[in-house]
Subunit: 343 residues, 4 copies
């Protein structure tokens, strides 16, 4: 098989950094283009110094006109919110695209504009996008031309809730207490990621208003008969990588941990990257990997699902490549056996 | 006024370490005795090297017989669970005691034995103990001879819930997603506090079974008409100090953040050590202090209270000294203006 | 005694933050003014949230004209390099000043201009400044009107080298391998303190060119007959606070650790804030305190001195207050018994 | 080519953990055996939870008799010091071995016994061992049956000094200020790796007496005409992984950074895993990889070499596999393209 030619828009952020870490070593892909306007001309290994010695690639400016992209098979868009909607309409027809931003995640234009605080300039393309939560959407993803890759919090939450929503066992409100590492704020220094503060911090932010809330609700409605109220709260952890979601639900009837595990095992029987663990997962065991680890606690009708993943891998670049694999007819694991480390 | 003579049983752990840091500089107290069997004879500053140069005190063995303690005004018991109940019955009658362990926190003997996994050897003394959550129990504390000092998780949770329970505005189950720093596991090295693992970890533990659950429920029943179901989940944070509790409640009617703040302001009008903050508290701002910072988020009847404190200070040694101050007729702040640091 | 009225220029940075933490609780001082142009009008406790509830003070803009400062006894200048030299000439004659920046540390104007990359606009005032390394300069400090407070690296290095230089036992070059925590880079977020990177980093910076080099050499010449070559290398540590200097020297004759300790004990016999420790010091035991802990290793004529302090306290604000105490005729320890914590 | 059959003795420690992370995905190797007495019978993924889902392998007890090992091509010994010398003499003749402990690193028995504090029980085998610093010993390694894999500090130091020693440009004493992450203390919890302390610590340990000193001196004598005095000082860093060595040397004549770089470039022309960087290396960029990053600073005859690597990879398991590759006639990079991550 000929190697897939891929381009990455936005190669200097953490999403781009992780796409490069994965795609440069993907046995069926070849990175033909990686853009980063502020670093144009610089070798990739001079910016992402982890990759020094591992690639000859250099960053380029984003092309002025897009015909030149026609020989690409896939384009990954790892840009700040609002830029993908400018780029996607201009892509040559033969190019498939995976967008890691929020631009095409929300079906309803009003919801996008409310949560992202900007006008949508390509709403007509929304229907061409498939939501890329791989484990629940494989068939559609295989056929898609455009993928909107899920948010990191949304992925952790949805992988913990989807089996329950699909089975229709949820009753009443669901509370998600979610925590993220500092890389979730991106590669640019900012007050909330200033090391002397952050290393001793834990705090909540964006209560009730996080932009992943409508994304989660929309995806749960797609999976099952979701009517619960969602209380979603995000917090900041003093680690570089990792999302941990503690999901508090009530079930329609009493369930033991074993009951729940059976339900999840069935739902995820083909999902290599979902690991059902004993007790609690730990972000320590998923960091740098494409795994989402899930564990459970239950008492009567009270159920708690714990979900842990690496925000930059399963929560971003890893899942994006997983989706590309499916779209290209490859095994979804290709290039994604990124073993974590101990310690 | 003559200085209070105080003794500390268990001076080598983190609770003892913090008692020393506070009491050695308390303007109305004098540490006359500090025990630590394994360090007997060693200067305090050789073990707690932060105190080197600040005290001439040395550790001693716990005394064989207790008559010698008769000239002490107060004894602090900072020992592993199960030891205070052996010591308290032997204390001379003139000595008042503040126990930082769980030995006398639970009124009902069966609950103690279930949650602490041991027989209670002094159940007859239980009724002599007052629960030392200062902000809700000041009057009783002033008159008490014995104080059972609250657990760290319990303090954070109760300070966030007590005003709501007292006002009777809670409806339905309450979910507490609580997180603690690694010093909560004590001063002895253990697998779950092994630095190479812990620095990148976040995980849940003791789901539904934490020994602070009955303590919290008992205290809430004392404060108001508590009938809610409590779902209480503890997690481990990769910081040294700090507890952060995200408390999810439903209120009987809709409440805004301002409504809630008013309610809390009234309840804590005399509580110097409870600070009501804008937005979320952050453990970074309470570390090493006796403050509990509390913030709110609300939507309709959904209310989230965020509560942050230092597990070793307001969650242990600081609150213990606050209680001693009340028992001795002092201002509760005496010796407790421990300014935090930035960063 | 009437309380000293003090003003702080530059109250929003970490130096200012620490001056506030100390001076607000100093029994003989009263903070009458604290400037921070970007935060003018805001309560101190809204910016340094550790101080919330502990002070009613608000930030002001720096005054336009300085006559209003005439009732201040002391002014602390905690500003970026280059600003103190604009302010000091305008201070009313009755006001004494302690400058935490590098503006007046170097006697020779050319050295200042070379290392700080700017013209000196008040060179005529240089001779009015006394170098504020308290432990070596007490008598001059008591009489001074202006103090240039030492740099953090310089303090750690000088306290480790001064006794040896004074005794004339050094031979050949001296190598200082110095490491600092991230708060040394200041309170503003920057690439080198971005949490996701910094938490796993250790690297060297400014090899051979750090601006503390001429400061150290000048101070050593003042203390003894310093003719050694100094190799000074700075590194970044992934902690918030702390400087650790490993100082490699050769002595003119063989010295045991006990010999060295005796020499240091004599030199520092009146120095409460220098603690000579067994084995190595640890930044963990000096963080948030005004102590400098010093330890030794020796083999034949090879001597290694280890020096540890908190860059923001003994390396900045703490030493500044120590100097103010001397200038005001107070015990140098006044307000500086800042007990560290364990952990 | 038939896959190499390898066995790992001591699979539960960090060395074993990293050997598994590498060898399970090595395209030419197959892990046939991994021992861990305390975990015998448990799946590897239950202990090293990063490997959950990636291997079906279970731990076994070390075999009673060793004939069964005859079908192994390689045995890795990742055991505490003192155990390899009991095992190696019993290995079937066809089995080659790579020892990650210190048992066979020192040629002179007296030096071993002095530094490791135990009798050597197989001194007759010492001469059959080749020192596995790959970059300086490739030819001997290819022919070796037994490899003593270098210590982590020794690797970082030697890669920074070998080119200079080989070229004969060193003059006078050499000072190595070396720092290690907490995983260097092993996988077992201990006081010096207790998270609440370690996360804010930096301190020196084993001054002048670290067991890697004779190893470094012996290796430098093998490489060139080493006659300098070595001052070697080890320190503890609050990160999980990484060694950083600041190496202070004097050169026989003046050298610029470019002169030094040319010398190193020539010496390491075939060394894929040594990266010569601009400015300082950073442990952040080598963590989890087999790279050693080296940078320089120079002034006149003063030269500083900075060397950074991951103590568990290039400092242990990675270099061990690199040696196996050579011994097996493979490209030394096989299975070792472990891209680091940003962040």
């Amino acid at each position: 098989m000929k190697r897939l030619k891929v381009g990455i828009f936005g190669g200097s952020g953490y999403g781009g950094s992780e796409l490069l870490r994965i795609l440069l070593f993907h046995p069926q892909a070849e990175v033909a283009l990686v853009t980063a306007n502020e670093h144009a001309g610089k070798p990739v290994g001079a910016v992402h110094r982890n990759l020094l010695g591992l690639t000859e690639l250099s960053f380029t400016r984003a092309p002025e006109e897009f015909e030149s992209l026609a020989d690409l098979d896939f384009v990954f868009l790892a840009l700040p919110h609002g830029q993908a909607m400018e780029i996607v309409p201009r892509l040559p027809e033969s190019v498939r695209a995976i967008d890691l931003s929020g631009d095409f995640r929300l079906r309803r234009r009003e919801e996008f504009e409310k949560h992202y605080g900007r006008e949508h300039t390509a709403p007509e393309l929304q229907s061409a996008f498939v939501y890329g939560l791989t484990e629940t959407n494989r068939e559609q993803i295989r056929e898609a031309r455009f993928i909107s890759n899920p948010g990191c919090f949304a992925t952790a939450t949805l992988l913990g809730l989807a089996p329950l929503a699909a089975e229709g066992v949820l009753s009443g409100r669901v509370i998600v207490d979610a925590k993220t590492g500092s890389s979730g704020s991106g590669a640019k220094a900012a007050a909330n990621t200033h090391h002397p503060q952050r290393m001793n911090s834990f705090y909540a932010y964006k209560p009730f208003t996080h932009q992943h809330v409508p994304e989660i609700e929309q995806a749960l409605r797609a999976v099952g008969d979701w009517t619960s109220e969602l209380v979603f709260m995000t917090h900041s952890l003093p680690v570089a990588r990792g999302i941990f979601a503690s999901i508090y639900a009530e079930t329609t009837g009493e369930m033991t941990v074993e009951d729940v595990r059976r339900l999840f095992t069935r739902f995820y029987r083909d999902a290599f990257f979902v690991r059902l663990v004993e007790g609690s997962p730990d972000i320590n065991w998923v960091k740098t990997t494409n795994f989402c680890d899930i564990g459970f606690a239950a008492r009567g009708r009270q159920l708690v699902v714990f979900s842990a993943l690496d925000n930059l891998v399963k929560g971003a670049a890893g899942q994006a490549v997983q989706n590309m694999n499916l779209m290209a007819g490859l095994d979804e694991k290709t290039g994604l056996i990124l073993a974590g480390t101990n310690p």
